[in-house]
Symmetry: C2
Amino acid sequence: MASIRERNKRLIIKTACQVFADTGFAATKTSDIADKAGLPKANIYYYFKSKEALYRAVLESIIEPLLQAYSPFHREEDPELALRAYIKAKVRISREHADASKVFASEIMHGAPHLSADSLAQLKTEAERSIERLRQWIADGRMAAVDPHHLMFTIWASTQTYADFDWQILEVTGRKKLQAKDYDAATDLITRLVLKGCDVQPGSTQDSHTAPA
Amino acid sequence: MASIRERNKRLIIKTACQVFADTGFAATKTSDIADKAGLPKANIYYYFKSKEALYRAVLESIIEPLLQAYSPFHREEDPELALRAYIKAKVRISREHADASKVFASEIMHGAPHLSADSLAQLKTEAERSIERLRQWIADGRMAAVDPHHLMFTIWASTQTYADFDWQILEVTGRKKLQAKDYDAATDLITRLVLKGCDVQPGSTQDSHTAPA
DNA sequence: GTCTATATGCTGATAGAC
DNA sequence: GTCTATCAGCATATAGAC
């Protein structure tokens, strides 16, 4: 069973994640987090050394999913499968880790002043390996000679946007909350633009949301 | 000639734009802005009622360019020309109004708590009109039946990213500062993905950066 | 491990001399 | 129109009882 310590830390991180995503690091008061978690403020400080330490815990929680998302680039031999799976994984992160994604985005926007050097290095390594893989596929004539850096930036941006700018997307679509079919439609559109845009020959695989896991 | 009042207000807004983009609204101290502008802090308050009023002035400065960018959707009859021009205009905004773009993005990320209802309504109207235009082109068989909302989200995200996540882009590309050719390459890639992805027949027009204005 | 009360420092904003 | 000195309020963080 989870110790009381673990249970409380988890509750605090989860709540902090929501509040930091909503209002950003600087504008967030530790009392906001405490109130929302149903705890007195001092309790936060019993489990976390400082507001910044809590923020870093939230921030680091998204690193592992982001690193994992790159695995199709190592696993797949085929650019179509790799790109499909990567886009799908990235949209899934925007859906399943929406708040942490937003905290991460805000951090990156301001030059990542709180992100650990280790996390940064890992993310950079994975990005570079994946871009190298794209370069190889291009050299092998398996996709068009697009700029692999810019291709990555477009994939990052278009998938992240469903977490980062969720408010805007809800406004424009008139939805109250994004549904599974919305994320599927997003995945399909982004996948379509990328595959057709890079002249990747469509194989026998299905649309992302109908494909087997 | 510009009055001393106008000149100072402009200097303060320009400086504030940089600082707000760097550190965000809440984390920015008015003294940071004053120091960077070479003025005593009280001078800021002589020209602007409050930190928030100054922030709103910065925020509103990007609205007009953003609204203007939609004009190709009204001007052009041809989806190819409209999409090319819109993407080009959006990348140009990310380049020429990088700081204000970033401030705007941060504001949208947190649900636009400071944006005026008027600006919001105008932006929404333009977005909806443009999406309606896409829908018409699709109905007329001039482009593939993609989801026009998601297409817009991808265009917004992929063009904005060059302002919002400039730090990340510099890290990954190893550049010190983005050059004209980088923005051109970005425009070309995004345009390619969108046009090929939507089965828009490429006409006689050139790549964005070689096309006549 | 929990929580109340409080100290400490910082920042937005202003008063008032020049 | 400019600037120094200062205030008032608020948020982080802790002391210490339970």
